[in-house]
C-alpha cells in the first residue's frame, strides 16, 4: 500500500509541489495502477533469458557544428526572468 507519505516523498524526488489534500487520492490511484502493471512480471519473469535491451543501431555523425544559430534572442526571450543575454536564476551556492 502506498501511503500519503510515500506520495510526498515521490513528489519531492520529482520536484513537484502536491497539495496535501491531493495526496490521499493520488496514493489510491497509483496503488491501483501499480497493482495492475505488476502483471508484467508474469511475462518477463517466466523467461529469465529474455534480453533486457532491444537490438540497437548506432547513429554516427561528424563531430562538427551543424545546428542553426542566431536565435539566442528568441530563446532567452522565453525565459521568465532574464538579465540581458542571460537567463537569471536564483543563487545556487
Amino acid at each position: 500500500m502506498l501511503s500519503k507519505d510515500d506520495v510526498r516523498k515521490l513528489a519531492d524526488l520529482a520536484l513537484i509541489e502536491v497539495p496535501d489534500d491531493a495526496c490521499a487520492g493520488l496514493a489510491k490511484d497509483m496503488d491501483a495502477i501499480l497493482g495492475y502493471v505488476r502483471d508484467v512480471a508474469t511475462l518477463a519473469g517466466g523467461t529469465s533469458d529474455a534480453p533486457a535491451v532491444p537490438s540497437l543501431r548506432n547513429v554516427m555523425r561528424e563531430d562538427a557544428v551543424t545546428g542553426v544559430t542566431g536565435f539566442r534572442e528568441d530563446l532567452v526571450g522565453q525565459a521568465p526572468d532574464r538579465d540581458g543575454p542571460y537567463v537569471r536564476v536564483k543563487r545556487i551556492l
Partner: protein
C-alpha cells in the same frame, strides 16, 4: 463553397482545374470552424489563414502542383510552428511561442499546405478523451455528449466535423487511432522513426510518432508521404534507403482470437467480424493467431511510458521557458512552477514514472517492463512470419460519455488495450471506420485496426481501402 470537398484528392482536382481557389476553400473552412465552435476542436484559429491561402493561389497560378498545395490542415497543439503558440494544452506552456518549425511543418510549408489552427488535446498528450486539456474538453461531433477520444481529440473532431480537410496528430499509445475510431475518421500511426520527431513535444521518446488523421485512407497515405523521411535533427529516424514492404494483391490477416474476445463491447465485436468478412470477400485470407504476450502489453506500456514521461517533463522547471512560480528558493521555484503548471494527469504520470525508476523498484517495474517489451516484440515478429497484418478492434468500446471515466484513471487506461502494442514494438498501425452501432438513439462509428510489420504502411493502405470502400 457550399459543401466541403470530401477528400484531399477531390479538393486537389477542384484547385487544379480552377473550379475552386485556395482562398475560397480556406474561407469555407473558416466558416465551418465558426459554425462548429461548440465542439472546441481548436485552441486557436490562425489569423493569417487567408494570407496563406493567397500565397497558395499565387503558386497554383504559376503552374505549381503539389498534392497538398492550398489544402487546409489542422495541427495538434504539441507540434511546433515557428512564431506560433504551442502549449500542449497545458498551463505550463500557455503563451509559449515556438522558436522553430517542426520538421513535419517545414515539409508541409514547402508543399504549400494552409494551416488553419492548432487543435485541442489531452495535456502533454496524456489521455484518451481530451478531458485532460487545461483549456476545456473537445466534444465528439457525432454526439456532443460524448468524448472525441484522445489525445489527438481536437484533430479527429476537426476532421470529422469538416472543420479541416485533414490534420496532424501524435501517437504514443493510441493517441491518433483511438480518436480516429471514436470520430469515424482514418488515423495512421506510422512506423517508429519513419516520421521525424523534431519539433514534437516529447512524451515517451521510444514510443512517440507523428501521423495523419484524414477522411480517407488515400488522404492519410498522401499526408504520410509528405511528412515521412530521414532527418538529421532526429537520430532515431529510419534511413530513406531502408527497404519498405511493397503492396501485394492478396494478404493473409491474423486475428488474435482469444485476445479480441475479452472485454469487448458485443456491438464493437460484431462490427469487427463484419470487417473480417469484408476482407475475406475481397480475396484476402483471415486466420487465427496466438499472441499470448498481448495480455501484458498494456501493463508494459504503463510502466515504460510514465518512466519516459518523468524524464522528458523534467525539462519544465520554470527557469528557461514556461510558467514560473516563486517558491522562495531555487528548488522551491522548481517545485512551485511544476506544481502549478502541470494538471492532474501529467502529475500522476510523473510520480508513477519516478516510482518505477526509483532505485528500490527499478528492477521490479522498469527492468521487467523492458524484458516484457522484448518478449512482446519476439511474439509479434514471430506471427508476422506467417501473416502480413494483424487485425483487432481499435478500441474495446465506442465513444464514451464526457465525465464517464474521469474519476478512474485505470478505466481510462484500459481504452488503450489494443493500440499500445504497435507503439511498444514500433510497427505501423491504421484505424479505419468500419461499421456502426447505436447508443441512446445516436449512430456511432467503430474503428477497425490493422497492424503491419515495420515499414509495412503499404499493406495497411491496401487493406484499409478495402474496409472504407476505396479499394479498386
Amino acid at each position: 463553397m457550399d459543401t466541403p470537398p470530401k477528400t484531399i484528392a477531390h479538393a486537389r482536382t477542384l484547385l487544379d482545374t480552377g473550379e475552386l481557389t485556395a482562398c475560397e476553400l480556406a474561407e469555407g473552412y473558416l466558416a465551418r470552424i465558426e459554425q462548429r465552435k461548440d465542439l472546441h476542436a481548436y485552441l486557436e484559429v490562425f489569423d493569417d489563414v487567408r494570407e496563406q491561402a493567397r500565397a497558395a493561389d499565387v503558386r497554383i497560378a504559376a503552374g505549381e502542383s503539389h498534392p497538398l498545395l492550398g489544402i487546409p490542415l489542422a495541427v495538434k497543439d504539441n507540434i511546433l510552428i515557428e512564431g506560433r503558440v504551442a502549449s500542449s494544452a497545458s498551463k505550463m506552456l500557455e503563451g509559449y511561442r515556438a522558436t522553430y518549425d517542426a520538421t513535419v511543418v517545414r515539409k508541409l510549408k514547402g508543399e504549400g499546405a494552409v494551416f488553419l489552427g492548432r487543435t485541442n488535446m489531452d495535456e502533454f498528450a496524456m489521455g484518451s478523451s481530451t478531458e485532460n486539456s487545461a483549456f476545456g474538453c473537445t466534444r465528439n461531433p457525432l454526439d456532443p455528449t460524448r468524448v472525441p477520444g484522445g489525445s489527438s481529440g481536437g484533430s479527429a473532431a476537426a476532421v470529422a466535423a469538416d472543420a479541416a480537410l485533414a490534420a496532424l496528430g501524435s501517437d504514443t499509445g493510441g493517441s491518433i487511432r483511438q480518436p480516429a475510431a471514436f470520430c469515424g475518421v482514418v488515423g495512421l500511426k506510422p512506423t517508429y522513426g519513419s516520421v521525424s520527431r523534431s519539433g514534437l513535444m516529447a512524451m515517451g521518446s521510444s514510443l512517440d510518432v507523428i501521423g495523419p488523421l484524414a477522411r480517407s485512407v488515400r488522404d492519410a497515405e498522401l499526408l504520410f508521404g509528405a511528412i515521412r523521411g530521414a532527418d538529421s535533427l532526429d537520430a532515431t529516424t529510419v534511413p530513406d534507403t531502408a527497404p519498405r514492404i511493397s503492396p501485394r494483391e492478396r494478404y493473409t490477416i491474423g486475428v488474435p482470437r482469444s485476445f479480441v474476445e475479452q472485454g469487448v463491447d458485443p456491438d464493437v465485436h460484431a462490427a469487427f467480424e463484419q470487417g473480417l468478412t469484408a476482407l475475406r470477400d475481397a480475396g484476402h485470407r483471415v486466420v487465427d493467431v496466438s499472441l499470448p504476450t498481448l495480455a501484458q502489453a498494456l501493463a508494459t506500456y504503463y510502466i515504460i511510458m510514465p518512466a519516459e514521461v518523468s524524464a522528458n517533463l523534467a525539462r519544465f522547471d520554470g527557469v528557461r521557458y514556461g510558467l514560473h512560480g516563486d517558491g522562495g528558493s531555487r528548488i522551491g521555484d522548481y517545485k512551485r512552477s511544476r506544481g502549478a503548471g502541470f494538471g492532474p494527469e501529467p502529475r500522476r504520470r510523473i510520480l508513477l514514472g519516478t516510482y518505477v525508476l526509483s532505485s528500490g523498484y527499478y528492477d521490479a517495474y522498469y527492468g521487467q517492463a523492458m524484458r516484457a517489451r522484448e518478449c512482446i516484440r519476439h511474439d509479434i515478429q514471430g506471427v508476422f512470419e506467417t501473416v502480413d497484418a494483424i487485425a483487432t478492434p481499435t478500441t474495446p468500446t465506442p465513444a464514451f460519455k464526457v465525465g464517464e471515466k474521469t474519476s478512474d484513471p485505470l478505466a481510462m487506461y484500459l481504452e488503450d488495450i489494443f493500440t499500445v502494442s504497435a507503439n511498444i514494438i514500433g510497427v505501423p498501425a491504421l484505424s479505419v471506420p468500419h461499421g456502426t452501432l447505436v447508443r441512446d438513439g445516436v449512430t456511432l462509428p467503430v474503428g477497425f485496426q490493422l497492424m503491419a510489420p515495420e515499414l509495412g504502411e503499404a499493406t495497411l493502405f491496401t487493406l484499409g481501402a478495402v474496409l472504407t470502400g476505396e479499394g479498386s
